[in-house]
């Protein structure tokens, strides 16, 4: 495919396909990455906080109170060595609450001199809360807390404080967890990027393979244009083949039209040569014998008439040939008939013939070119007007409905009519029953040819008013 300078890049099919695929891929992969990463982090954090809660349970179980009601935890009873190693990353702390506000009343050795800072919230008894916070050394911490209430009345003494609450906190360093999440994210991003690259390559290959037939088609078409091949050869994918078949049909029809046009031009040229030769001959004679001047004039007049009839006939045939095809054309009949009647009323105003158009449904239509319908009905109506004594009547009806329906137009005149045995003859080219009425004698022949091209028919009958009835049947729409 050549890309001209004026061609905008969005016009490229390849670009459109690739852009759409790549955009969709990128969006899908980024979304998948975000989802997987967040799922993984959630999972790891849940595991971590479950482990911490188990530690909190252990601390809670080891919590005792001395005679003064102060909490005591014997570090010897805690198995994990990290409780006692300073800044080990695992800590506990007991805060006093309620009447006695005592932050860091009791702490693990691992906390050393630091105190865990907590967001203040109200805890119901026994409920475990999870927080993320920052430790004294700036590391991220996960904290779980629970409050316990000591019933002072049990030992009956002390300072008499009733229901002192204590908050138990266990915290652990998130450093390793965060590192694990980051490692996972790195691997995930790398895998998704690799997947993206592979998918891009696949998309490129797909577009190249998918569009290859178009390239072939273009080469074949260039061959047709260069004249090396009369039509598009070869098999194409089933999506492209109908296009190729249609194009070949157009090429065939073009060739046919060109051939017919050549034949017609040739016929016309030959047809006109004869009257020209006759006139030239007569002119040569007249040059030698000037006294035959009137004979020459008469001959020129006659031969010009002959030439004119040939020209008329070929023009009409050319129009008819050009009219072929145009599928889907739909011409409402009523406006066409009314337009023709307006012309005929003027042209035949002197004869005083009444032109009547019977009411017809406005949706009656002809499947073809408007000019052809005008030509057919115009010639027939004109003929009827020439012969009618007082009245010409036209009606149209649709036989059947939808595609394949037929259009029937009936034209009656009250003229002399045509005897049944002479009706076939008048449809022939140049046939004229009465030379006294002006006309080239081509009207009916042109009508016959046009109607024949549309696969219709013309029938001549006797009209109820005594004249001629012409019944035309054409494809309807």
């Amino acid at each position: 495919m050549k890309h001209g300078a004026g061609r905008h890049w969005t016009r490229s099919l390849r670009f459109r396909l690739l852009a759409a695929t790549l955009a969709a891929l990128a969006v899908a992969l980024v979304l998948a990455g975000l989802l997987l990463s967040s799922l993984f982090r959630d999972h790891v954090m849940r595991q971590f906080s479950q482990a911490l809660t188990a530690q909190l349970d252990q601390i809670t179980a080891r919590l005792e109170f001395d005679a003064a009601g102060q909490p005591q935890i014997d570090p010897q009873t805690l198995s994990d060595p990290r409780w006692s190693r300073p800044y080990s990353g695992l800590y506990w702390q007991v805060d006093g609450e309620g009447p006695v506000q005592q932050r860091g009343a009791l702490r693990s050795r691992s906390l050393w001199d630091a105190v865990l800072a907590l967001p203040t919230d109200v805890l119901a008894d026994g409920v475990v809360h999870v927080h993320e916070s920052t430790g004294s050394d700036g590391a991220a911490l996960l904290l779980v807390e629970r409050s316990v209430k000591r019933d002072n009345s049990a030992d009956g003494g002390g300072n008499g404080a009733v229901g002192t609450s204590w908050r138990l906190i266990v915290a652990a360093d998130l450093r390793e967890t965060v590192a694990a999440v980051e490692r996972f994210n790195g691997v995930l991003a790398a895998s998704l990027a690799t997947l993206f690259v592979l998918l891009c390559a696949a998309a490129l290959a797909q577009v190249a393979i998918g569009l290859a037939p178009l390239r072939t088609l273009q080469r074949t078409l260039a061959g047709v244009r260069a004249g090396t091949s009369p039509k598009l050869d070869g098999r194409f994918p089933s999506e492209v083949q109908p296009l190729v078949d249609d194009f070949n049909a157009v090429l065939d029809r073009n060739a046919e039209v060109v051939a017919r046009a050549r034949t017609q031009a040739g016929n016309l040229a030959h047809a006109i040569k004869t009257p020209l030769a006759a006139m030239s001959q007569a002119a040569a004679v007249a040059l030698q014998r000037p006294e035959t001047g009137t004979d020459l004039a008469a001959l020129v007049e006659e031969q010009v008439g002959v030439a004119r009839r040939h020209v008329d006939w070929h023009l009409a045939s050319a129009r008819a040939a050009a009219a072929q095809g145009v599928p889907g054309a739909r011409v409402p009949v009523q406006p066409v008939i009314h337009g023709l009647l307006r012309v005929l009323e003027r042209v035949h105003a002197e004869r005083g013939v009444a032109l009547r158009c019977l009411p017809m449904a406005p949706d009656i239509a002809f499947a073809g070119e408007v000019q052809d319908l005008q030509e057919v009905l115009g010639n027939l109506l004109d003929n009827a007007c020439k012969w009618a004594r007082q009245e010409v009547q036209v009606s149209a009806a649709s036989l059947g409905a939808g595609p394949g329906s037929r259009l029937q137009v009936v034209i009656d005149d009250d003229g002399p009519g045509i005897a049944p045995d002479r009706r076939d003859g008048v449809m022939a080219r140049g046939a004229r029953l009465d030379e006294s009425v002006p006309g080239s004698g081509l009207g009916l022949a042109i009508v016959n040819e046009l109607v024949g091209l549309y696969g219709g028919s013309v029938r001549l009958q006797a009209a109820p008013t005594g004249g001629l009835r012409v019944e035309v049947e054409l494809p309807g729409a």
Binding site: V304, R308, D312, R319, G339, L340, R342, V343, R346, V347, A349, E350, V370, Q371, Q374, E375, L377, G378, N379, P438
Partner: protein, 220 residues
């Protein structure tokens, strides 16, 4: 009767002019659509012969502009294209009649005669005024069946009056309709022709309406 001829082909124009003048019409000409449109819109004519394939402004456009401007002149259109599609287009643009080239001069003259007559609301080609009869087809005037010999100017004058029986026709109107634009117009010549015509017709056929013009008197 004065006719406007709008045709671009010089040969055909000359032939048409000769034919029309021979038939007793005063002829004004234009060889393109713009001049033709201007003449038709500003001068008084009894009919127009309009070719459709014209330079500068095509015939259909000229016709449409006249009709839009309310010019009701009878128009006969001429064209080499004689498909019915063209005929419908021409008539719907406001033409009164249609003639396809090539044509015979007699055919054209018959159409023009009929157009002028129909424009005056006269149905028959025979114009009658008492014992006086004018046959528009043969350009013959008879009085009680006897042929009256008239010069072409006298005939034009009588024909114009007989196309408008009973109505007063001013000298200016007569001058406008009997002579082409380039003719030396002098209303005194009208008086001379009326005088000559009166001598050939029965007494009091042409009445002078003082200060207004002339009237053809219809016998009771």
């Amino acid at each position: 009767m004065r006719v406007l001829l709008v045709e671009d082909d010089p040969t055909l124009r000359a032939q048409l002019r000769a034919g029309l003048q021979e038939a007793g019409y005063a002829v004004d000409e234009a060889d393109n659509g713009r001049d033709g449109h201007h003449l038709g819109a500003s001068e008084a004519f009894d009919a127009v012969i309009l070719d459709l394939g014209l330079p500068v402004l095509d015939g259909i456009s000229v016709l449409k502009r006249w009709r839009e401007a309310g010019v009701t002149l009878p128009v006969l259109i001429l064209t080499a294209r004689d498909s019915w599609h063209e005929k419908v287009t021409g008539i719907d643009a406001g033409a009164d009649d249609y003639l396809a080239k090539p044509f015979h001069m007699e055919e054209l003259l018959a159409r023009v005669r009929a157009l002028i007559r129909r424009a005056q609301g006269l149905a028959s080609p025979l114009l009658q005024c008492g014992a006086l009869t004018l046959d528009t087809r043969s350009s013959r005037v008879t009085l009680n069946g006897q042929l009256v010999t008239l010069t072409s100017h006298e005939f034009r004058l009588l024909s114009y009056l007989m196309h408008r029986p009973g109505s007063v026709v001013s000298r200016t109107e007569l001058t406008e309709h009997l002579y082409a634009q380039d003719f030396d117009r002098d209303s005194n010549t009208i008086e001379v022709f009326v005088g000559r015509l009166r001598r050939k017709l029965p007494e009091a056929t042409i009445e002078t309406v003082r200060g207004m013009g002339y009237r053809l008197v219809m016998p009771p």
